[in-house]
């Protein structure tokens, strides 16, 4: 690869965002258009990844390597494999949609908003590309700044509490991970290259310590129970675009962290901590779902449902078998699409009503049938109806966890029931029931909003009906990952036990 495509992907939006600085702040339309064009170009740039990606090798592709801090053996090292490629594509899409959904919702400090959004995009892509643990950390933390601003400046009434909580929560976790990273550096041959680090073996005690250090950062980001309480606040207060990015990609970074770092580098600890992780995931699934039933705030409910869904994802990942991990990764994408779409929808409706209280809605299906249709579709994807993407992920996750630990699947499957309960209840309270006087005469979705939602619909069905198009990207990489985790020895536990 002579063209540094990944660097371009990371820095193009950043540079693009900064180029907005030069635009007069009153020309908001121009700013929006520019942001949109930058976002679209970014998507365009990411397309070659999709087509040129070699699915037959677990090796990192599109790699770039430049010494950065030679004294410490820190390199600017990028590359993607079948696990990370999808997130990059997703990030590009979600950013464009976020730009579109902010089109009219953001009226104050427009310029700054789009700068923050584009910079955020670059940082997130950086997270998914980095092959150097240090570099990863840089992106991981740098992304906090724009997100902090997006929630804090353009958020709801309690935005400051929410954003500070978000920031501090994640920062504490990240800093503990930093300690872990440095420790790893010393024990892993003075390098931050994750492939090198994965090649080393560490004593079980050390692995355990490092595991918890990384856990601190990743679990908060996921967020796993019981470090999830920042999420409802952040989601609730963030502007629509913020919620979308948060739900769609940002919290995926936690799960991605587990996949990319915890598992291959600390295989023994990963195996040892499998059960606790599964138990935490199960708690998250059930807890997140049940607590949704008590929510009166629209966004808060979806936020808690994210906790539940992310529980599924971590459950899948820590199933440590092909179906579980592939399902987990796929579900990350799916959750990004579905919850992202739900937040997009909520953003659209919030723009009209300026209320997030569920009780203020009712009978919306009469006033906004098209919107109701979209929302229904995403609701169904969220509850995992077959033929939607949500099903594929949940099915693979549950199957994966059933293969090795049926009890885990047993508890997790209750999430299916509870998920249907709270989602449908939500749907009923918003769209069904007698028409609430507060929603009378709301305008139906406009073209821009339909255009935003259509790609999500397409993805819901595309993945739901033809998941192989994405799963095929990860087969080899996941197999490689599992080899690393199980050291090739424990292969039996990875496949279903087939009768003779």
């Amino acid at each position: 690869m002579s063209i540094p495509i990944l660097s371009t992907l990371i820095f193009f939006p950043v540079a693009g965002g900064l180029s907005l600085l030069m635009v007069d702040r009153n020309k908001t339309h121009l700013i929006r258009m520019m942001a949109l064009i930058i976002g679209l170009m970014e998507m365009l740039i990411s397309l070659p990844l999709f087509f040129l990606f070699d699915k037959t090798t677990p090796r990192m592709q599109f790699t770039e390597l430049t010494p950065w801090i030679p004294a410490l053996n820190i390199n600017y090292s990028l590359g993607i494999d079948g696990i990370s490629i999808l997130f990059i594509l997703l990030t590009g899409l979600v950013t464009v949609l976020s730009i579109l959904v902010s089109w009219e919702a953001i009226q104050d400090k427009v310029k700054e908003f789009f700068i923050a959004l584009l910079v955020l995009e670059g940082m997130i892509i950086g997270v998914f590309c980095a092959l150097d643990f240090f570099l990863f950390y840089i992106f991981w933390e740098a992304m906090l700044i724009p997100m902090f601003l997006i929630i804090g400046i353009w958020g709801g009434p309690k935005r400051i509490y929410a954003t500070v909580k978000f920031f501090l929560y994640t920062l504490v976790g990240s800093l503990l991970m930093l300690v872990g990273i440095i420790t790893l550096y010393y024990h892993g041959g003075q390098t931050f290259d994750i492939r090198e680090l994965a090649r080393h073996t560490y004593s079980p005690g050390l692995q355990m310590l490092l595991f918890w250090a990384m856990f601190a950062a990743f679990a908060v980001k996921v967020p796993m129970w019981p470090v999830h309480t920042w999420l409802p606040d952040a989601h609730t207060e963030a502007p629509a675009a913020g919620s979308v990015i948060l739900a769609a990609v940002l919290i995926k970074m936690g799960a991605y962290g587990f996949l990319r770092f915890s598992m291959p580098i600390l295989p023994d600890a990963t195996r040892a901590m499998m059960i606790p992780m599964i138990v935490l995931s199960l708690i998250a699934i059930v807890y997140g779902a049940v607590i949704c039933l008590a929510q009166t705030d629209l966004k808060r409910l979806i936020a808690y449902s994210s906790v539940s869904h992310m529980g599924f994802i971590t459950l899948g990942l820590y199933g440590l078998n092909t179906q579980g991990v592939e399902g987990g990764i796929l579900q990350m994408i799916n959750h990004g699409i579905v919850t992202g779409a739900l937040f997009l929808c909520i953003g659209m409706i919030y723009e009209r009503t300026h209320t997030r209280v569920i009780a203020d809605y009712g009978g919306l299906a009469s006033t906004m049938p098209l919107f109701a249709g979209f929302f229904m579709l995403f609701t169904m994807a969220a509850v995992g109806l077959p033929a939607t993407n949500g099903f594929i992920g949940e099915f693979l996750i549950l199957l994966g966890s059933f293969i090795n630990r049926p009890w885990a699947a047993f508890f997790a499957a209750t999430g299916l029931v509870l998920g249907a309960w709270y989602m449908l209840w939500l749907f009923q309270r918003i769209f069904f029931n007698p028409v609430n006087s507060k929603v009378v005469g709301l305008a139906e979705l406009n073209l821009r909003e339909i255009v935003i939602l259509l790609p999500m619909v397409a993805l819901v069905f595309w993945i739901g009906l033809y998941p192989d198009s994405l799963l095929s990207f990860m087969h080899v990489s996941v197999a490689h990952l599992l080899d690393q985790v199980h050291g090739g020895a424990d292969a039996v536990s990875r496949v279903a036990v087939v009768l003779p």
Binding site: I69, E141, T163, V164, L175, L178, V179, Y186
Partner: protein, 478 residues
């Protein structure tokens, strides 16, 4: 008996030039009224020249080991000079707004810089002490400069009295070391202790304890930090900025030099002591900063906290650690100067605008100032990709490498806590509506400082390789 001739003084050239500049400044101020406007620029010019000379210095051990111009010294001299340059530029702005008598102001700053450079180069306790006093006396005067203002004088008297006390303690420790080793030259002390097994002598350790106490005062390590908030708040803002960078760096220069060159064998002893003190410092600095409503005072506490972080590198007792501290001090210099420059920028005659409330909605009325402050605040928090993160990372790495895991964990936790009060500034600027009108303008001086600081914070954040490489080689070459 060695003869004293011109060549002997050659390594001293930059310092001598600096003294000459100082004298010239006073003379110009006294006798040539018209040049007053030019004095800050002359100072900057002179300092830049000296900076050039310093960087070009050869590694020489002069005056029988009393004066070392090794790369370590050069590094700290660069920090000192940078702090003077930036403070001078800031002072140029400050003068326009507040009106300080400036001839002495620049001269004293230059003399303080001379003191710092002497400290950085000191290879002997006597030289060290004298350099320290040279710097300290200049700074006492600078702090008390706003004679009309009660708090400036209060700061000066507090600083002075505590400084005197700390010097006395330091001196007592030095006298004991002299008695125990028969020398005041650091390399000599190290050689003697190693040769005679003095390392196990409790008296030597106790004396070292007193010396550490003296140094801790200089770099504002808890529980010797009590002067810092009061003095930082009371002193003219420019001086505060200067103090938080230059003199502190010089303090660390001698701290590191004495401990690592003078008493390397005692590292297990002073390492654990310093680890405790570092944690205490971070705790005090970060926690107390949480409840401040004045940004200036908050930055003072943050300076304490950062002293705690910087100590991580020293206590590691390795070349790695020391180079981490060095890099950190340089980075801290940029970001802290930047933050103070914003403070200076916002202050106007009669109103200091140091309260958090004055920053409400700054992003709306003055987006550029707010954006810069944002960068500096994130850098002080230690969030990448700013230089503050790189510095902190390097320190943590060094301390972990030396095995101080729990200290490091404490450090990161306090670092997370610190995010709260740094972000509060950002919150006030970006997430509140403006209350009153703030009127200020960018002068060339302050613009230059801001630009320099931004360049440092972002540049070192994105391309930290050079600085870290330089700091590391400074120690390897030692």
């Amino acid at each position: 008996m060695n003869m004293i001739n011109w060549a002997t003084f050659e390594p001293l050239l930059p310092e001598m030039l600096l003294v000459c500049i100082g004298l010239a400044l006073i003379c110009l101020d006294l006798f040539v009224e018209k040049t007053r406007e030019l004095l800050p620029w002359l100072t900057v010019l002179g300092c830049v020249t000296v900076l050039g000379m310093v960087i070009g210095e050869r590694n020489v051990t002069a005056f029988g080991g009393m004066f070392l111009t090794d790369a370590y010294a050069v590094f700290f001299k660069v920090i000192s000079l940078l702090s003077v340059i930036m403070a001078t530029l800031m002072g140029e702005h400050y003068r326009r707004v507040h009106g300080l008598r400036h001839g002495e102001y620049y001269a004293l700053m230059v003399f303080a810089a001379t003191g710092m450079m002497v400290m950085a180069s000191a290879g002997d306790l006597m030289v060290l002490y004298l350099g320290l006093e040279l710097m300290a006396l200049s700074v006492y005067c600078l702090v008390g400069m706003n004679k009309g203002e009660g708090r400036s004088t209060e700061a000066a008297i507090k600083y002075f009295l505590m400084g005197v006390f700390a010097s006395a303690i330091l001196l007592y420790g030095m006298s004991l070391v002299y008695g125990l080793t028969g020398s005041t030259t650091i390399s000599e002390i190290a050689r003697y202790t190693a040769a005679t097994g003095l390392t196990e002598n409790p008296a030597l350790l106790a004396a070292l304890g007193l010396i550490i106490a003296g140094f801790c005062f200089k770099v504002a390590v808890a529980p010797f930090h009590f002067w810092t908030p009061d003095v930082y708040e009371g002193a003219p803002t420019v001086i505060t900025a200067f103090m938080s960078v230059g003199p502190k760096a010089a303090g660390f220069a001698v701290f590191g030099r004495v401990l690592l060159s003078g008493f390397p064998e005692l590292q297990p002893h002073w390492g654990s002591l310093l680890a405790t003190l570092a944690l205490l410092t971070m705790a005090v600095g970060n926690l107390t900063a949480l409840v401040q409503t004045s940004i200036k005072r908050m930055l003072a506490y943050s300076a304490i906290a950062h002293a705690g972080y910087s100590l991580l590198g020293v206590l590691a007792g390795t070349a790695d650690g020391l180079s981490a501290t060095m890099s950190y001090l340089l980075i801290y210099g940029f970001m802290n100067m930047g933050a103070f420059a914003i403070l200076v920028l916002l202050s106007s005659r009669g109103a200091h605008h140091e309260s958090l409330d004055d920053y409400r909605g700054l992003a709306k009325s003055h987006p550029l100032a707010a954006a810069l402050m944002l960068v500096f605040m994130f850098s002080l928090t230690g969030i990448p990709p700013t230089a503050g993160f790189i510095g902190k990372f390097y320190l943590l790495r060094a301390a972990l490498g030396a095995g101080y895991t729990w200290t490091v964990i404490g450090a990161v936790i306090f670092s997370a806590i610190s995010a709260y009060f740094y972000l509060r500034v950002v919150r006030y600027m970006y997430m509140s509506e403006p209350e009153g009108e703030l009127d200020f303008s960018y002068t060339p001086g302050i613009s230059a400082v801001l630009g320099l600081a931004l360049l440092g914070v972002v540049g070192l954040g994105l391309l930290p390789g050079t600085i870290i490489g330089w700091a590391a080689s400074a120690l390897l070459g030692q």
